[in-house]
């Protein structure tokens, strides 16, 4: 049974993964680059433009552009109330990268936070990605 429901779910999972990965990588590159740029407390655009010439910042901003575009594509078929909690898995990924790659300390309260997010994402993941009726090719749940 190759139902449109299954196809929509697969497409949604793939785009959710792209949104999460580009978000985490983009923000990591950006913050790594900002360490080299220094404080940004300016209403003038010049320091921001200068920051873009930092290679880490440039890669970070490029990834965040991919993030924005894939997020827009995802919202062209999926509910906002689905996309929002699902993409919060990015927070979990940041905590895991901090713990296992950067060997940072993760407090028990933070592990509880990771667990709550995972539980929330699992629950929302069991709902249909699209519940609004505005589309012709629908995936009713």
């Amino acid at each position: 049974m190759t139902s449109p429901v299954k196809a929509l779910q697969l497409k949604t999972r793939i785009f959710t993964a792209i949104v999460v990965l580009t978000n985490v990588l983009g923000n990591s590159f950006l913050s790594r680059g900002m360490q080299g740029v220094g404080e940004l407390l300016s209403f003038s655009p010049l320091p921001y433009i200068r920051a873009l010439f930092n290679p880490w910042v440039a890669v970070g901003v490029s990834l965040l552009i991919v993030w924005l575009l894939s997020h827009m594509a995802l919202l062209s078929w999926a509910d906002l109330s689905y996309v929002l909690p699902m993409t919060s898995i990015a927070y979990v990924l940041v905590a895991l990268v901090g713990r296992f790659l950067l060997h940072e300390h993760v407090s028990p309260a933070r592990w509880l936070g990771v667990t709550l997010i995972m539980a929330g994402v699992t629950l929302v993941g069991h709902t249909a990605p699209r519940t609004h009726a505005a589309h012709k090719r629908g995936a009713a749940a």
């Binding site: 404080e39 827009m72 062209s76 509910d79 929002l84 919060s88 927070y91 709550l116 997010i117 994402v121």
Partner: protein, 121 residues
């Protein structure tokens, strides 16, 4: 100043994502991912005021967040984003007419609670 920035971030993020969802729903589902088709999508979206306003709102939120983390700890800045989960879900229900059953509500509340906990030292 911190609280002013947090209010700006929560309101701008909510406005940006809700407008983006409205604009993308008007556009309809993207099925064709070949470059030519994506070019047509881009030019259609560039003419959507919802999408342009959403990009403006998200830029406001991005720069307000950069300012916030330059005067406050990340551990203070992150829980602020949790408030936008609740606000956006309310807009999704009443403005976007999404069906939010108990699984999605509980899941969203767990995620928002988890984000607040992640911010604790």
């Amino acid at each position: 100043m911190k609280w002013i920035l947090i209010s700006i971030i929560v309101l701008a993020t909510t406005a940006g994502e809700v407008l983006q969802a409205v604009g993308m729903r008007h556009h309809g589902e993207i099925h064709d991912f070949r470059p030519g088709a994506l070019g047509r999508v881009a030019s259609a979206l560039a003419q959507s005021w919802h999408i342009m306003a959403s990009i403006g709102a998200m830029a406001v939120s991005f720069f307000a967040f950069m300012s916030l983390i330059s005067i406050a700890d990340l551990s203070f800045a992150v829980p602020a984003t949790a408030a936008s989960y609740i606000l956006e879900t309310i807009f999704a229900k009443y403005l976007l007419k999404e069906h939010i059953g108990w699984k999605r509500w509980i899941g969203t509340l767990l995620v928002a609670g988890g984000v607040v906990l992640l911010a604790l030292e």
